[in-house]
C-alpha cells in the first residue's frame, strides 16, 4: 500500500506537503478519480521506461545522430527513412526474416497441431509427459541456443555424428547459408511448437463430446468429423497462434545471434540483428532508429489484427 500512496502522490506534482491536510486525500479518494488514480503509477512507469524512449528514438530518426561522436546532430528530415527504405541490404534482411518466419511458423503449426491431437485424450502420466513437451517454450533463448549449438557441433554434435554414419564424413550444418537457416528454423520451431499445441489443445477440449457421439451414430468419416466438428472449434485459435507466432518470430534476435552470429556471411542476419548492428556496431544511431520504427510498424499492424480477432472471439463465446 505504501507504494500506491507514494506513486499516487507523485502523480499529482508537488502534492507532497498538501497530502497531510486530508483535503487532498478526500479529493483523491473521490469515486470518479478512482480509475485514473489506480492506473497512474502504471502509466507513469510505462511512460518513463517505454513511451519516452520511443519518442526519443522517433526524434533521433530525423537527425544524423551518432552515439559515438560528440558533434551536434543536425536535422535531416526523412533522409534516414529514405536511406533505410532504399537500402538493398535492408530488403535482404527482411527477406531472410521472412523466410525464417514462414518456415518456422509453418513447422510450429504442423507440429503443434500433431502434438495437440496426441494430448487431447486423457491417459496415465499425461501431466508429466505434457510437461516434457511444454518445457521448451518456457526456456531461455540462451539455453535453447546452447542445446542446439551442441547438437549441431561438427565434431561432437549428435547430428554430425548421425549423418556421418551414412556418409563417413563429419556434417557441418552451419557451413552453408541454407543449412544455417535450417538450423535456426529447427531450433525456433522446436522451441515454439508447444505454444501452438497449447492453443490447439484448448480448442480440442472445448468440443462438446455429444457432437462426436452424434457423428458416431451418423457414421461420419474421420475426415468429415474433423472438418465439420473439430475444425470450427480450433479455427480461431489456430489463427491466433499463427499471428502471435508471426509477431514473435518476426522479432527473432537471440537464437540467430547466439547460434550462428548472423552468419555465414549475413545469411541468417534478421532485421532485428541488422538494426542492432547499425546501432551498436556501426554507430549509425539515427538510421538504426528509423529501421526500428519500420519493424515497430509491422508489429503494431499485426498486433491490432490479433486483438481484433481476440475481441471477436470473446464476443462470440
Amino acid at each position: 500500500m505504501a507504494d500506491l500512496n507514494t506513486s499516487g502522490a507523485g502523480a499529482v506534482s508537488g502534492a507532497g506537503s498538501v497530502a497531510k491536510s486530508g483535503g487532498l486525500l478526500a479529493w483523491l479518494n473521490a469515486p470518479e478519480r478512482r480509475g485514473p488514480l489506480l492506473v497512474a503509477p502504471a502509466l507513469i512507469t510505462l511512460f518513463v521506461m517505454n513511451i519516452f524512449p520511443l519518442l526519443w528514438s522517433f526524434g533521433l530518426s530525423f537527425f544524423n545522430y551518432r552515439a559515438n561522436r560528440l558533434t551536434v546532430p543536425s536535422f535531416k528530415g526523412l533522409d534516414n527513412y529514405e536511406k533505410v527504405l532504399t537500402d538493398p541490404v535492408v530488403w535482404e534482411r527482411f527477406q531472410t526474416t521472412g523466410i525464417i518466419v514462414g518456415a518456422s511458423v509453418t513447422l510450429q503449426l504442423i507440429f503443434g497441431f500433431l502434438l495437440a491431437l496426441l494430448f487431447a485424450k486423457t491417459f496415465p502420466l499425461r501431466r508429466i509427459l505434457l510437461m516434457l513437451v511444454l518445457a521448451p517454450m518456457m526456456l531461455s533463448f540462451v539455453s535453447v541456443a546452447i542445446f542446439f549449438k551442441l547438437f549441431y557441433d561438427p565434431t561432437l554434435g549428435l547430428l554430425s555424428w548421425a549423418i556421418g554414419l551414412f556418409t563417413g564424413e563429419p556434417f557441418i550444418l552451419l557451413a552453408t547459408p541454407a543449412g544455417s537457416i535450417a538450423a535456426i528454423v529447427i531450433a525456433d520451431a522446436w522451441m515454439w511448437s508447444p505454444f501452438v499445441m497449447l492453443l490447439v489443445l484448448a480448442g480440442l477440449v472445448s468440443v462438446p463430446t455429444y457432437l462426436y457421439e452424434a457423428a458416431e451414430i451418423d457414421r461420419a468419416s474421420p475426415w468429415r468429423r474433423f472438418r465439420t466438428i473439430t475444425f470450427p472449434y480450433i479455427k480461431s485459435l489456430l489463427l491466433l497462434a499463427l499471428l502471435f507466432r508471426t509477431i514473435e518470430t518476426f522479432k527473432l534476435f537471440d537464437l540467430s545471434f547466439l547460434i550462428t552470429g548472423g552468419g555465414p556471411g549475413a545469411s541468417t542476419e534478421t532485421v532485428a540483428i541488422y538494426a542492432y548492428r547499425l546501432g551498436f556496431q556501426f554507430f549509425r544511431t539515427s538510421q538504426a532508429s528509423a529501421l526500428a520504427y519500420l519493424i515497430l510498424f509491422v508489429v503494431i499492424v499485426l498486433t491490432s489484427i490479433y486483438l481484433y480477432i481476440v475481441n471477436r472471439r470473446n464476443e462470440e463465446g
Binding site: 507504494d3 500506491l4 469515486p31 478512482r34 480509475g35 489506480l38 492506473v39 502504471a42 502509466l43 512507469t45 510505462l46 521506461m49 517505454n50 524512449p53 520511443l54 526519443w56 528514438s57 552515439a67 502434438l115 496426441l118 491417459f123 502420466l125 508429466i128 509427459l129 505434457l130 511444454l134 518445457a135 521448451p136 518456457m138 526456456l139 531461455s140 533463448f141 540462451v142 539455453s143 541456443a145 546452447i146 542445446f147 549449438k149 551442441l150 565434431t155 561432437l156 549428435l158 555424428w161 492453443l199 484448448a202 462426436y212 457421439e213 491466433l240 522479432k251 534476435f253 547466439l258 538494426a275 544511431t285 532508429s289 526500428a292 520504427y293 515497430l296 508489429v299 503494431i300 498486433t303
Partner: protein
C-alpha cells in the same frame, strides 16, 4: 479395429499403451534438453567422446566447477556464477514484486472503473510488450548512459518492472474480468467501501492468478537476454549473459561445464512449468486467451 475397441471406453480416455507411445514421442521431443542434462554429468573426456556416449559413469565435477575453479596452485577459487545466480534472482524478484503491485492496481481499475478510451490504453499497453526490444533498446541505452543508471541494479530493475508491467496488467485484468461482480455489489450494499471490496473480496479471489502472474513474470525476466547484455555491468550481470559469454569462448567450449550451468538454470523453469500447467495458456498469451 483398434478404433472400434476404443469406442467402448469413455470418450477421450486412453490406456497405458497410449501412454507408452506418447511417452516415447515426448522423450524424443525433449531429447535436446535431456542430452544437455546428460552432458552435464559427463567427465571432460566422455563429453568429447566420438561416437557420443549414451552410457557413462556420472560425475558431479561439472557442477562443482560452475562455482569453484581450481587454480594452478591447486586451491579452489569462486567463479562469478554464485553472484550471477544471486543477481538473476534479486533483479527478477524485485522487478516482479514492483510490477505486480503497480500492475494489479491498474488492472483492477481497467476492469472495474473503465477510463475513457479504456481499450486504447489496453492496446497501447500490450503494444509496449509486443514491441521488438530493438526499438527501445537504443534510446534506453542512451537514457541510461545520461542518467548513469547503466550497470546499476536500480536501472535494470526499473527497466524490467516496465517490461513486466504490461504482462501483469493484461494477466490480472483477465482474472478480475472473470470474477462475479454480484458478490462485490452485494458487499457494497452491505456498506463496504471500495478499498474493502478490493482487499477483502476481489484480491482473495485472484490469489491463484496473482501467483501465476508472478511466476510467469519471474520466468520472463529470468530468461531475458538482450537488455541484460547491454545494460548490466560486471557486478550486476545475470546468468543468461554469463552463459552467452561462455559459448563465445574461442578456445573450444567446455561443454560439460556449460551444460551444468544450463541445467542448474533450468531447474526453476521446470518446476514452474509443472506447477502452473493449468495457467500456462493464459500466461503465454498475456491473458488474451483464457479458454
Amino acid at each position: 479395429m483398434a478404433y472400434r475397441k476404443a469406442a467402448f471406453r469413455k470418450p477421450g480416455q486412453a490406456g497405458w499403451l497410449y501412454s507408452l507411445v506418447t511417452g516415447v514421442i515426448a522423450l524424443i521431443y525433449f531429447f535436446p534438453v535431456l542430452w544437455m542434462i546428460l552432458t552435464a554429468f559427463k567427465t571432460r573426456s566422455d563429453a568429447l567422446a566420438i561416437p557420443p556416449k549414451l552410457f557413462f559413469t556420472p560425475t558431479l565435477d561439472n557442477f562443482k566447477s560452475v562455482f569453484f575453479r581450481d587454480t594452478q596452485a591447486g586451491d579452489a577459487v569462486a567463479t562469478g556464477f554464485v553472484q550471477y545466480f544471486v543477481n538473476s534472482a534479486f533483479i527478477g524478484g524485485s522487478s516482479v514484486i514492483l510490477a505486480l503491485i503497480i500492475g494489479t492496481l491498474a488492472a483492477y481499475a481497467f476492469s472495474r472503473y473503465p477510463l475513457k478510451g479504456n481499450d486504447t490504453y489496453m492496446f497501447i499497453i500490450l503494444t509496449t510488450r509486443m514491441l521488438p526490444p530493438i526499438v527501445v533498446i537504443i534510446p534506453i541505452f542512451l537514457m541510461f548512459r545520461v542518467t548513469g543508471l547503466s550497470g546499476s541494479y536500480i536501472g535494470i530493475i526499473l527497466l524490467y518492472t516496465a517490461f513486466n508491467l504490461p504482462f501483469s496488467i493484461w494477466m490480472m485484468k483477465s482474472f478480475f474480468d472473470d470474477l462475479n461482480p454480484e458478490i462485490e455489489d452485494s458487499a457494497r450494499l452491505d456498506g463496504s467501501n471500495d478499498w474493502k471490496v478490493f482487499f477483502r473480496i476481489c484480491l482473495p479471489q485472484v490469489l491463484a492468478g496473482l501467483a501465476a502472474t508472478a511466476v510467469f513474470a519471474l520466468i520472463l525476466t529470468w530468461n531475458e537476454f538482450l537488455f541484460a547484455l547491454l545494460l548490466t555491468g560486471s557486478d550486476t550481470r545475470t546468468v543468461p549473459v554469463a552463459m552467452a559469454n561462455t559459448i563465445g569462448g574461442e578456445i573450444g567450449v567446455d561443454w560439460g561445464l556449460l551444460s551444468a550451468i544450463v541445467s542448474l538454470f533450468l531447474i526453476p523453469v521446470f518446476i514452474v512449468t509443472f506447477v502452473l500447467q493449468k495457467q500456462l495458456l493464459r500466461g503465454v498469451t498475456f491473458g488474451t486467451i483464457r479458454k
